[in-house]
C-alpha cells in the first residue's frame, strides 16, 4: 500500500481538517474546525447531540459534502478523492448496517468483495477479525440471532476487514448496556495492539473518552477543548476531597486556619477542593487535629471538563437543542 504518491503515509496526519464549515440552510452545524489526528492515535470526539460531531464524521467519511474548508483522511482529500478515502477507512455507524438474514461470515464476505479485498488472503483475514471480536464460533449463524453487543462487534470486525488506516466509529456503544460498552472498548484496545490503525470515535459518554489518547470537545459547531484526557482534567484543576470526621465543625475550622481551605458540609461529608488530592491526604491526617473516619478523593471527570468549557453539563446541553440538531431536523422535514 506504499505505492501512493507523496510522502509516506505514516508521516501524514490520519485526519487533517482546516477551516471546515458545514451549513444546512439556516443552521451552521460545523463552524470552522481545524484538527490534526496523528496516525495510530485513538482520538475521541465528544459533545452533546447536535454539537456537530456526526456532521463532521460524515464529512470525513465522504457521506456529506462540506460547505467550505479542507478535509483529508489518510492523506486523501474527501472532496476530490472519494473512492481512495473510502478504500482506506472503516466505518461503524450509529445505526446498524448489517444484513440480519445473512450469517456473520456472509456479511464479511459481502464487505470484502465490495471493497475488493484480495481473494487469496480474504478468508484468513475474515478469520482474524472474527476471532478478534470473539465471533469466530458464531460465524455461521444468521445475524438475526445475535445480541446487540455481538452485532456491534461484528460491525467493528467488518470495518477492519479491508485493513483501513482509519477506523471511524460513530457512537459505537450507544444503546448498549454498561457491561457490553466496556467489552466493546476492550476489543478496541485489543485491536490497537494488533493493528497499526487510527481510531476516530465519537461518543457522548464522558467515561468512555478516558479510553482515548486525545479528545476534542465539540460544542455548537466548534472545538472548545483539545488535549489528552489527563491534561484536560488537570486544566480544570481541582480534586475533590471528602472526609467524615468526629467533629465536622472543628474540622472545617482547622481546614481554614491551618490549610487555608474553604470547606463545607455537603451530602453529609466535609468537602473541599484541592490541587492534588493524593498528596494532600497525608498532610491532612498529620495536621487536622480531629479524628478522621473516612476519606474520599475524586479526580475531576471529563464531565467536569465539559462543564468548565461549555458552562453546562453534557446532559443539560442536549435538552434544549434536541430538534436543533440539523440532521434530525432535516430528517423530520423529510429531506
Amino acid at each position: 500500500m506504499g505505492e501512493v504518491s507523496g510522502p509516506p503515509a505514516v508521516q501524514r496526519p490520519a485526519v487533517y481538517l482546516r477551516g471546515l464549515v458545514k451549513r444546512y440552510q439556516e443552521v451552521e452545524a460545523v463552524r470552522g474546525i481545524d484538527l490534526d489526528v496523528a496516525p495510530g492515535e485513538t482520538f475521541g470526539f465528544l459533545g452533546p447531540n447536535g454539537a456537530g460531531k456526526s456532521t463532521t464524521i460524515k464529512i470525513l467519511c465522504t457521506l456529506v459534502a462540506a460547505t467550505s474548508g479542507t478535509a483529508r483522511v489518510a492523506g486523501f482529500d474527501v472532496a476530490t478523492e472519494r473512492d481512495a478515502v473510502r478504500q482506506h477507512i472503516g466505518l461503524v455507524f450509529q445505526e446498524p448496517t448489517l444484513d440480519t438474514y445473512l450469517t456473520g461470515e456472509q456479511n464479511l464476505r459481502f464487505h470484502g468483495e465490495l471493497y475488493g479485498v484480495d481473494r487469496s488472503s480474504a478468508a484468513a483475514r475474515r478469520e482474524e477479525v472474527l476471532r478478534m471480536v470473539g465471533l469466530w464460533e458464531r460465524r455461521g449463524d444468521p445475524v438475526e440471532t445475535y445480541s446487540g453487543g455481538m452485532r456491534r462487534r461484528l460491525e467493528i470486525a467488518r470495518g477492519l476487514l479491508h485493513s483501513p488506516r482509519v477506523l471511524f466509529l460513530d457512537e459505537p456503544t450507544i444503546g448498549l448496556d454498561p457491561q457490553t460498552r466496556a467489552s466493546i472498548w476492550d476489543y478496541l484496545h485489543e485491536l490497537h495492539r494488533g493493528e497499526q490503525i487510527t481510531v476516530f470515535v465519537t461518543t457522548h459518554y464522558m467515561d468512555e473518552a478516558e479510553n482515548c489518547d486525545r479528545i476534542a470537545i465539540m460544542n455548537e459547531g466548534r472545538i472548545v477543548a483539545l488535549d489528552t484526557p489527563g491534561s484536560l482534567k488537570a486544566a480544570v484543576g481541582h480534586d475533590r476531597v471528602q472526609i467524615t470526621t468526629a467533629d465536622d465543625h472543628a474540622a472545617i475550622e482547622a481546614l481554614r486556619d491551618r490549610f487555608g481551605l474553604d470547606a463545607a458540609v455537603r451530602e453529609g461529608t466535609v468537602t473541599m477542593a484541592v490541587a492534588d488530592g493524593a498528596s494532600f491526604v497525608p498532610q491532612l491526617f498529620a495536621g487536622l487535629g480531629t479524628a478522621i473516619r473516612s476519606v474520599t478523593v475524586t479526580r475531576p471527570s471529563l464531565d467536569d471538563v465539559f462543564l468548565a468549557h461549555t458552562g453546562s453539563t453534557i446532559r443539560d446541553a442536549e435538552q434544549p437543542r434536541g430538534m436543533a440538531n440539523p440532521v434530525v431536523a432535516a430528517m423530520a422535514r423529510g429531506r
Binding site: 481512495a84 475488493g116 480474504a122 497499526q196
Partner: protein, 285 residues
C-alpha cells in the same frame, strides 16, 4: 504500516474488475436470500397459477378463442409467465426500501464502488430470481397445450429475463425516494398493477378502443409480453384469422412493430430505467 501485520490485506483501487466483483456479490446476496426464503417462492406462484387455471379455465367457456382451435389458457400462458416475473421482479427492486430501513443500503453505498455497479448487481439478482421462479410455471406448458420445444423454452426464458431486469430497475427507481416500508406496498398497487392490466398479458391487443390501445402502447411491459406470445403462437398450428385476433403484435398508428424492435425497446428500457435509478440513488444518499 498495516502491511506488516500477517493478515492485513491489500485492496486495489477502482478498476472495472473491482466494479464487476461488487456487482457479482450483490447478485450473490440476492441468490442467498432467495434460497432461504422458501415461502416467498411458493407464495409468489399462487397468483399466476390462479390466473392461469382459475381465471383461464373459468373464462374459456365464454371466450371463443378464434374458431376454437386455441384454448384460452394457451393464449393466457405467456401473459401469466410475464405476470409472475412482473411481481417478483418489482418486489426485488422495491426491496431496496427494506435495505434502507435496516441500514444495509448504507453499507453498500459507502463502499468504494460506483452506485451503477451496486444497482446493476441488484437488477441481475432480481432478474435471476424472477426467471428461476418462472421456470416452475414454464414446466406446466404442456398442461395448457404449449409444446415443449427447446427453441421456444429458451426464447421465453431469455425474454422473461430481459423483462425481469427492466421491472427490477423500475422497482429501484420507485424505491429510491421511499423512506418507509409501509409506503412500499401502496406503490405496487399504484404502479405495478396498472402495468399488468395494460400490457396485453390478460387480453389480446386486437380491436381495442383507441384510449386503451394508446395506454398499452405506452407501457414498456407490452413490448415484453408481445414477443413471448408471438414465440408461443409460432409453435401452434392456427389459422391466420385466429392468429390475427389473439396475437396481433403491436401496431403504431397502422404500422406493425417488428418483433426485433419490440425486444430492442425492452432492452433500451432496461438501460434507461437503470440509469434513472442510479441518478436517484446517487442524489438521495
Amino acid at each position: 504500516m498495516s502491511t506488516n501485520t500477517v493478515a492485513a490485506v491489500r485492496v486495489p483501487t477502482g478498476g472495472l474488475a473491482h466494479q464487476a466483483r461488487a456487482a457479482l456479490v450483490v447478485w450473490q446476496r440476492e441468490m442467498i436470500r432467495f434460497g432461504k426464503d422458501r415461502t416467498r417462492i411458493v407464495s409468489s406462484l399462487v397468483q399466476p397459477l390462479l390466473f392461469l387455471f382459475v381465471l383461464g379455465v373459468g373464462l374459456s367457456s365464454i371466450v371463443s378463442a378464434g374458431n376454437g382451435s386455441v384454448g384460452f389458457t394457451t393464449f393466457l400462458f405467456p401473459g401469466v409467465l410475464a405476470l409472475s416475473v412482473l411481481f417478483t421482479a418489482a418486489f426485488s427492486g422495491i426491496s431496496m426500501v427494506w435495505d434502507r430501513e435496516f441500514g444495509f443500503l448504507r453499507e453498500m453505498l459507502v463502499a468504494p464502488v460506483s452506485t451503477t455497479a451496486i444497482l446493476t448487481g441488484k437488477c441481475f439478482g432480481g432478474a435471476t430470481v424472477a426467471t428461476l421462479q418462472s421456470l416452475i410455471l414454464l414446466a406446466l406448458a404442456g398442461l395448457v397445450g404449449v409444446p415443449y420445444s427447446p427453441v421456444l423454452l429458451l426464447t421465453l426464458v431469455g425474454l422473461l429475463f430481459l423483462m425481469a431486469f427492466m421491472i427490477t430497475a423500475l422497482g429501484l427507481v420507485l424505491a429510491a425516494r421511499v423512506k418507509r416500508v409501509e409506503s412500499a406496498m401502496p406503490m405496487v398497487q399504484l404502479i405495478i398493477t396498472p402495468l399488468m392490466f395494460l400490457s396485453g398479458a390478460l387480453f389480446p391487443l386486437s380491436g381495442l378502443p383507441t384510449w386503451l390501445a394508446v395506454l398499452t402502447n405506452l407501457n414498456p411491459m407490452t413490448y415484453a409480453v408481445a414477443p413471448m406470445r408471438t414465440a408461443v403462437f409460432d409453435q401452434l398450428d392456427v389459422d391466420a384469422l385466429t392468429r390475427a385476433t389473439l396475437d396481433p403484435g403491436i401496431v403504431w398508428n397502422g404500422w406493425a412493430v417488428p418483433v426485433a424492435m419490440q425486444v430492442a425497446i425492452v432492452a433500451a428500457s432496461c438501460v434507461v430505467l437503470l440509469a434513472a435509478a442510479v441518478a436517484r440513488f446517487t442524489r438521495t444518499e
